[in-house]
């Protein structure tokens, strides 16, 4: 019996072909190259040396994770009430409020981070302002040292990524069916109870995509730590950058690739943990498209 073979280039395949070729060439092969470079030396022979070499960056690695986690938690604490307030606004005002939240995001983040330097510097706006008050009160004031600290880096992360947390939470909150809340109220639930049993569980998908959208860029940043951390604090992103674009003596794609592989594994693991909390949502970053 002859099987009727499907033609390889059916119309259906034809529309996907350019995409499939593109994704293989510029997404899958590059990722494969990262793995290949991580496990080879400069001559291309297999080695585990890169992986043992990067052990020396364990401290940097944990600092990056720690600062990113702190920023994510602060973002969540700040963003949830804001998203809630906006979601409860009259519909015609919600649009403008969301527009106001998104507007700073459309400014390049280099510029926004750079602006914080002006504010936080030793001779910056905050210190001059407090200094003026101190002078007026005749108190001695030596100035806060804010720039080039881990605190400044966290501030920069929170500032840059706060909208990424507000938007997905807002999106899920507006989708909650109001009749559920009314029903609970009718049945005698208190506001706290309604929040705990209905609103909070239903907003989990938004919180999850918010957390990923803040944590991933925060843990891998090299700009925020470069601009606000001065030369003092190096995060994992700075070290990777240095291995690829540093001075010619510092360049080592193999070690850089090993670090990037580690970063990828970290992201995959944290996504796995996140998805564990959110089994219902179909795709990652679902709340992203507003």
């Amino acid at each position: 019996m002859m099987k009727t073979k499907k033609p390889f280039f059916s119309a259906k395949n034809l529309t996907v072909t350019p995409y499939a070729v593109w994704m293989v060439l510029f997404v899958l092969i590059p990722i494969g190259l990262v793995v290949y470079f991580a496990f080879t030396d400069a001559n291309g022979t297999f080695t585990l040396e890169n992986l043992s070499y990067i052990k020396r960056y364990a401290e940097t690695f944990w600092l990056s994770v720690e600062l990113a986690l702190i920023s994510t938690v602060i973002c969540l604490l700040l963003a949830y009430p804001m998203a809630f307030i906006i979601a409860k606004m009259p519909t015609e005002r919600q649009g403008s409020a969301i527009l106001l939240i998104m507007l700073p995001m459309w400014m390049n983040f280099l510029i926004r981070t750079y602006a914080w330097m002006t504010i936080l510097e030793n001779n910056g706006i905050i210190n001059r302002f407090v200094g003026m008050i101190a002078q007026w009160l005749q108190i001695e004031f030596e100035g806060f040292s804010m720039i080039n600290t881990n605190g400044a880096i966290v501030l920069g992360m929170v500032y840059n990524y706060l909208p990424y947390m507000i938007l997905p939470i807002y999106t899920v909150l507006t989708k909650i069916d109001n009749s559920l809340i009314e029903a609970a109220r009718d049945l005698g639930s208190s506001s706290v109870h309604v929040f705990r049993r209905i609103i909070a569980p239903l907003s989990v998908p938004g919180v999850i995509s918010g957390i990923t959208m803040v944590f991933v860029p925060a843990v891998s940043t090299f700009i925020i730590s470069y601009l606000l951390g001065g030369g003092k604090t190096y995060l994992i992103g700075n070290i990777i950058e240095n291995y690829f674009l540093g001075s010619s003596g510092a360049i080592n794609y193999n070690v850089g690739a090993a670090l990037s592989l580690l970063l990828m594994i970290l992201i995959v693991v944290s996504m796995g943990i996140m998805n564990h909390f959110d089994k219902d949502s179909e795709s990652v970053g679902g709340g992203m498209i507003v």
């Binding site: 899958l28 009430p81 906006i86 459309w106 390049n108 602006a115 990037s260």
Partner: protein, 269 residues
Amino acid sequence: MSKHLKRLYSFLIFAFLYAPILVMVVYSFNGIKSRSVFEGFSLQWYKALFEDSLILESFSNSLIIAALSALIATVIGTFAAVGINKMKKRTRSAYLFVNNIPVVNPDIVTAISMMILFVFFVSVTKMFEMGFWTLLIAHITFNIPYVVLNVLPKLRGMDNNIYDAALDLGCPPIKSFFKVVLPQIMPGIVTGAIMAFTLSLDDFIISYFNSGTSFQTLPITIYSMTKKPYSPKINALSTLLFVFVLVLMLIVNLRQTRTAKDKKKKEKS
């Protein structure tokens, strides 16, 4: 929460979001070259900005890359979405998994992975060098997934019967696609294209690793400005960009409210 508390909270969040922008705007009009003392009003930094050919050139480079990459990504992504939509569930999830890689991966990983490929390619062929083409390819690559993610839901929400009806009535498949399917998924395509354009215009990290030295986009120029001694030109540039974005957003918002109103009117009549 009481009304006042809500107002205060929103005010504080917005103050936090806009404080640095306000600082930039104010200091762009500074009479002296300082980022802490403000003395006298002047437009000199704006004048200096428009005399800086490097900034102007990198801005036009950014626009070219953004427009081209958005256009190409939209075409590839839209056709891909059409195909992916028709696939069986398992194949579709495999495709969507790959599609999500550039979305989920940290930008720096996407950036260095492509950089390794390009450097490898350049060293093997000894023909090309990092520059316009590598930048364009990199931008198309991170734009395509967003187009697919915007078009796919529109395809899934579409009524397939209309397309089948067109076929039954003797309309050839390609013509039916352009006459029936395309108009229905247009909103998704437009959103995807706009998203691709803005992502590309704003991107620093991926461009930084894949542009080489010959071709600079605006964010790369801004980055090199932050490395040099302070110049208020950067404030003037930021202010102009902010005003540009503000006007653009207001126009979009006005149009949306107008179409919403028109819809309401139509429903009433």
